[in-house]
């Protein structure tokens, strides 16, 4: 007997991993304005997962390969004259998801499978899933640490970065690939729709709390981990869907911080406006 034999314990460990990973990658998603792209990506990995399941191949591999294909498709579409990135992303989103739905609907047990894909099932995480998530988390964190300077300068000054001789297209691709593998690691736990919550929420909350870039990462990761653990705990106590509880908590924490910082800003403004 080890601690990981209980499904609740495995779910807690998974929540800690995806919470931290989502929090860290989320900072980049936020500053590079990629939330909608992430949304499209989560939907677009769906047919990859279904095809992999049909062929008996590895689910992570299927989702990852399809995610990269969609990334390429979006980049190509958005280069066509007259189309902007948003419309291309929307088409990739709708098309990818519909392909997954049609593939699943040809199988038996349609509704149940589909629910697991769309809202996830963190309590069904196996020891192997946990090991893969840990591996992905370590690799992505390493990648982001190694390229931290390049990522920072490309985010805030792409022209300057290119002038310095950085290959910005390569840096962009590294970042998008990091988002793809993060999505692939998180989808089994939270599902294709709610994964976006962990990839945007903690980072957006951290952004309200600090203006300092270096502080964003630890704060965001801490928020992600706490929401993940608390969400799993709430779902076991009240018997509600685990992935949804995590996403809901992320939203509630953001709402509270937003109200708090809004209030603080109002008070500051009043104080500043008062005559000396």
């Amino acid at each position: 007997m080890t601690w990981f034999d209980s499904s609740v314990h495995r779910a807690l460990a998974e929540a800690v991993l995806v919470g931290a990973l989502g929090g860290v990658v989320g900072v980049h998603v936020l500053i590079r304005r990629l939330p909608f792209f992430t949304m499209a990506l989560t939907h677009a990995t769906f047919p990859g997962i279904v095809i992999a399941a049909l062929l008996g191949a590895d689910l992570y591999l299927g989702g990852g390969v399809f995610g990269l294909l969609i990334t390429l498709a979006v980049v190509l579409f958005s280069r066509v004259r007259g189309q902007d990135f948003t419309a291309a992303t929307g088409i990739a989103l709708a098309g990818g998801f519909a392909l997954g739905v049609v593939l699943v609907s040809a199988q038996d047990g349609f509704a149940k499978d589909l629910t697991a894909y769309t809202v996830g099932d963190i309590l069904a995480v196996s020891a192997r899933d946990l090991a893969i998530t840990a591996g992905i988390a370590a690799a992505v964190t390493l990648l982001l640490v190694v390229f931290r300077r390049e990522l920072l300068i490309t985010a805030f000054d792409p022209v300057g970065a290119a002038a310095l001789g950085l290959r910005t297209a390569l840096i962009d691709f590294i970042l998008l690939a990091a988002v793809v593998v993060t999505v692939v690691a998180t989808v089994p736990a939270l599902g294709v729709i709610l994964t976006v919550a962990l990839l945007v929420g903690p980072a957006a909350t951290a952004r309200l709390l600090t203006d300092r870039y270096a502080l964003l990462f630890p704060i965001s990761a801490a928020i992600g981990v706490s929401c993940g653990v608390a969400g799993v705990w709430l779902s076991t106590v009240w018997n509600v869907a685990a992935g949804a509880s995590i996403a809901l908590l992320v939203g509630v924490v953001f709402g509270l911080v937003f109200l708090g910082s809004h209030g603080a800003a109002l008070v500051r403004r009043r104080a500043a406006a008062r005559p000396l």
Binding site: M39, V119, F254
Partner: protein, 290 residues
């Protein structure tokens, strides 16, 4: 493969009528969505009305769904306006989307038969559309299209020159609210019949395809309506043929989306050819002058 034969059964005829109305509505509103780059807003709205749908159903049964969805759509628009004062719009949309959708999932996950409820919302049940729902959809479509047609001049000005619009005395805030409400109404009208996923496709794909084929707005709008309606028709035919002729069950909503995306691909190819031809013509014209 017959294009008409499947629609002799009443339920298929109703499904076709619903999809044609929604195709025309989605095509019209979709052009505004495309011009104003509101794709993410439409996506977010289609998810955030979910808790409204669930709450409406729990409180008042089938009749409550429409009003619950409408209330949630308006709440989304209001919350979005509040949040974007301090947060980037895309982050605010993503947060609203996941939080409200999660609230809906939590509500519905306490019920038995949870998986099938969720599936119905996500993918719709276009084959079980009732005559009453058909009338509701038609009424919403008429109101929204009339609204957009009446406001077409300020809408155009706002899309291409926001500063000029304000200078010309257009009340931009009010206009944006009208557009958001139009998108919300479209989503609400469509979601019960065709599900969340198809709503997004109807709002984005036909307009994007029409945009590739033409540069003139007076052509783009009817073309988008035509593509939307044709996609619905062909999608139903394909899904029917696959299940009757080949014993392959393809979800009708998903099939419609795939047909729409395929039409978009064709439009891209046609657009490429059109530009090549024009370029060639311009070159020969230039040589003739020289």
């Amino acid at each position: 493969m017959s294009l008409i034969e499947p629609f002799q059964t009443p339920f298929m005829a109703r499904a076709l009528a619903e999809l044609i109305i929604l195709g025309v509505l989605g095509g019209t509103v979709g052009v505004v969505v495309l011009l104003r780059r509101l794709a993410f807003l439409s996506d977010a709205l289609s998810h955030t009305i979910f808790p409204g749908v669930v709450a409406g159903y729990l409180l008042a049964g089938e009749d409550g769904v429409f009003w619950g969805a409408l209330a949630a759509g308006i709440a989304t628009a209001a919350l979005l306006t509040l949040l974007t004062r301090r947060v980037a719009q895309d982050a605010a949309l993503a947060l609203l989307l996941t939080t409200l959708f999660a609230a809906g999932v939590v509500l519905v996950s306490r019920r038995s038969g949870y998986a099938s409820d969720l599936t119905a919302f996500l993918f719709g049940r276009v084959l079980t559309v009732t005559p009453e729902q058909l009338w509701q959809t038609a009424a919403v479509a008429a109101v929204v299209i009339a609204l957009l047609a009446a406001l077409r001049r300020p809408l155009l000005l706002r899309a291409f020159d926001p500063v000029g619009a304000e200078a010309a005395g257009v009340r931009v805030g009010l206009l944006d609210l009208v557009v958001n409400v139009a998108v919300a109404l479209t989503v609400v009208a469509a979601v019960r019949a065709v599900g969340m996923v198809l709503v997004i496709a109807l709002l984005i794909v036909p307009a994007a395809a029409a945009r590739v084929l033409s540069d003139r707005l007076t052509v783009i709008v009817p073309l988008a309506c035509l593509i939307g309606a044709a996609g619905g028709w062909l999608g139903l035919v394909v899904s029917w043929e696959a299940s009757i002729g080949y014993g392959l069950r393809l979800a009708s909503g998903g099939t419609v989306v795939l047909v729409l995306v395929a039409m978009y691909g064709l439009a891209q190819a046609a657009g490429l050819v059109r530009r090549r031809v024009r370029l060639g013509r311009a070159r020969t014209g230039l040589e003739a002058v020289q």
